[in-house]
Symmetry: D2
């Protein structure tokens, strides 16, 4: 029969690891959500249920916890360490992808913390030869209350949107940036500075479209951070509609808005450095 | 027939209001989720569909937006203003409850903001005579990595939990505090200081049970804030289980934890000032 | 100091229990989410951290699983059995509340199932003397595409809603019904029939307001089910707005709607049988 | 500067469209969530904010509603109609992707409905030349209470999982299937039959691994449905752990389980017909 197995991967998703580093003067907390995905010579389990090449997802979870015993460090290093381990030590596994989300905690005392906003992310891949690292940030919600226009757009028979010279621009930032190499970087500094540049570009850019803001954000990050070769952004346009108060004999000079849920615009794009290294499996 | 209408209320839930105050030197943003609930002589609409006494929920939404035109101010004042309006100006309405959630935004520039953590809440009620205000905070996630014990508990045939002298204590704080009166308070200061005392008590208390922490938090707030007469807390015990690494010939001296989702302990309690004013409809 | 402990309870929330009954001709699956909450002489743990009266929430979870070994049966019976156990066998515990959600599975084979819609719920309470049982249904989403009007309502300066003789009426049903006694009922039949009457009343009632529909639903259930004394309903009005297609030179005779998320109307009410037994802690 | 725009698209996400077809003998309801994404000559808006080539996302939403005036029909046809329109009638647009989720409603009367389980999906793409259609199903939760084993797997130093000859196999099905062509199919029958074959294969397959079940499901669909050339499945392994009741002197012969949330196994794979047409942008 002319039916065959195509691409496939398997792993353990969302292993919730919290590590405490107990320094004498203070505790440090590392709060992670780790997902592993492995690929390789796995036809047997699909076709006949022969699992001799399958490293159980339970083992993948155990490995995450066991590796954390020696310390986690930066999530990029931890992800690379895990990805390398799975490919190197499991005969059937040819590719590993490890995705980590790190939640933010703000210190409130020697051993007391309050959870903050924004999630730091990374995805490390290893195919036996090449390592790639894509880092990013999720769920960072930002808003400009002015400095955003939208006009001069293409109009067809279904266009009713009025042009505007002043609107609220709000979005929940999902950003990913690819590093030129997976070699020893100061991952913490790179993440902190890249995030700072993205947020500053969002705040600084006088925006004629959310696309323009997107490009400005990606370009700003690439311009300042030589270790990056590509920035991908997904920006939902969280619409804020000016409420018509005229039925109540009130004006509304850009002050009272309805924050809508759905539908929302969704602007996605990539900004790339020319001559960048081949992405390989980075975005796989 | 011996069947009758019992308690009832109706209103518009989750009106999403964003107000921008455009000062020359900076913008201020107020981001609210407003829910109104009205009660009164509403038997006719239930029994016969005669709506002559029903102020539409759409009108309630419009009122929220229209009232915001003059400024919102502190959410307690805005909620009281709305509740008073509905009862005073609608012939059939005898009681109004207005609940507001306020989302946090941190300034990043003249008109640029990043959303923060923790939601400030208030519920104002008015029955034509008495006004009550309960304020609070939602979704403030806190963690102590040590300073928490749990032992000496009652054991029965179903008890397997080992006693511990050192565990992680983590919770997502839902707190509500009732004010002695609804008269002009510095609501902003009251909220900021009460939240501070709750968080400090969480961080400071060497905890033998989450119940002890709960009481210490409520007591701390009441002790410092004379305007409060009762604090109610709901504290999910977000369990962090020490991972058994012994199968891998590793010890685990309080460093590697699994953060569990469900089930979770749920500790709920109230701390009250003796001789407090009657709560009336405050918790209704 | 004049500060004291007020009402309090504690327990284990959301214990996810799945029980399989392995009959020769078929398997049966019971899929539950069980939450327990205990109350009693618990001042010591709050005030001093003395836990000698505290049955750990972990033990409560264990008890849920151990009791399931003998079979679960109807969730009302299982909840009563657990509530009675906690109060009877724990010296400090004076009241227990056990809340259970049961997820629906539809049979697809001897041992194969597909999850269905609507969640059956129950809350059983026991205070050492009186047992009460409130059952219900969550998340049953229903829609009438006609047979709903809304007009003749009270108008004030903030009213802009047009009157309508034909609208979509859609809601997500949350219903709770209190039984006259906790004694041996055919709980399965009672739940099935009550749900049927609620849905039929929703479908049958020509509605002049969602309040009228609410009352009709509660009354229908009480009229047909003698074992019930009160029905409480919470009905979000999931607004469907007719889209204005006139800019595109199209009419819209009640055919094309926008389904909105927020805000939504929220109609809550109770329908009661006269001379009903005292609710006691039933709704506690 | 050597920085440039990479891949990009923009559109309106989650337009919630409900259409009522008012037949004399009964109403029909079509409940959709429509997302559009356009791509083409959009460098200007990114680089300079020149929006002359941008069809606003608001217009895309309007188009969805306006096109529904003539009837929706099967979602595959509606998605193709919209995708073709955007590419054909907007000078700058070279590719369009339209993704639709359709929610299930079960009839309860002439014009009354209850929402059911499982979401039907489709994604249609058009690049000016080639049309592709991928259909699927989301959120269909299925469980086998026996007939599932897992043993003979690869073991390393981190493996602690015991082998089992009998476990619960539960998953939430996300399936996508690619059609050989976008030409007139009986989409409704194709969807209904493909879903049936997937569910039957899940129920029938004695499973030695979830991968084996995945392949069996895809193969079954391809074997029976000639119009399909590829099936992709993502199957979270919703773990059900047998509870150890031995501390309570109880056995547990496969009857009492804890349903865990996280982590979960995640098995993803594709089953392909040899010699299938080129996927082009189908999975883009």
């Amino acid at each position: 029969m002319d039916i065959r197995l195509g691409d496939n991967q398997y792993g353990k998703a969302e292993t919730r690891l919290v590590r405490v580093d107990r320094h004498p003067d203070r505790h440090e907390v590392t709060d992670l959500n780790v997902s592993t995905a492995l690929s390789g010579d796995l036809a047997a389990t699909h076709l006949t249920g022969d699992n001799s090449g399958v490293l159980p997802t339970d083992t993948q979870k155990n490995t995450v916890y066991a590796f954390a015993r020696d310390g986690v460090g930066e999530i990029e290093d931890f992800a690379l360490r895990l990805a390398t381990h799975f490919v190197t030590n499991t005969p059937t596994i040819r590719r590993a992808r490890v995705k980590i989300e790190q939640y933010t905690w703000e210190r409130r005392g020697h051993h007391s913390f309050v959870r903050g906003t924004g999630t730091r992310t990374t995805t490390a891949t290893f195919d036996g030869t090449v390592r790639t690292v894509v880092s990013g940030v999720d769920d960072l919600v930002v808003m400009n209350t002015t400095g955003s226009e939208f006009h001069g757009f293409h109009k067809d028979a279904y266009t009713t949107l009025p042009e505007t010279n002043d609107r609220i621009l709000a979005t929940a930032l999902t950003a990913r940036w690819r590093h030129e190499s997976a070699d020893n970087l100061d991952w913490a500094e790179s993440h902190r500075e890249t995030t700072k540049h993205l947020l500053e570009a969002f705040a600084d850019t006088h925006s004629l479209s959310l696309q323009q803001t997107l490009y400005a954000m990606g370009e700003r990050a690439l311009r300042h951070r030589d270790e990056l070769v590509e920035v991908r952004l997904a920006l939902p346009n969280k619409h804020h509609f000016l409420v018509d108060l005229s039925p109540f004999e009130l004006d509304n000079p850009g002050e009272v808005f309805h924050a809508a849920d759905r539908p929302y615009g969704l602007i996605e794009g990539s900004v790339v450095r020319d001559g960048a290294t081949d992405p390989g499996l980075a975005w796989w």
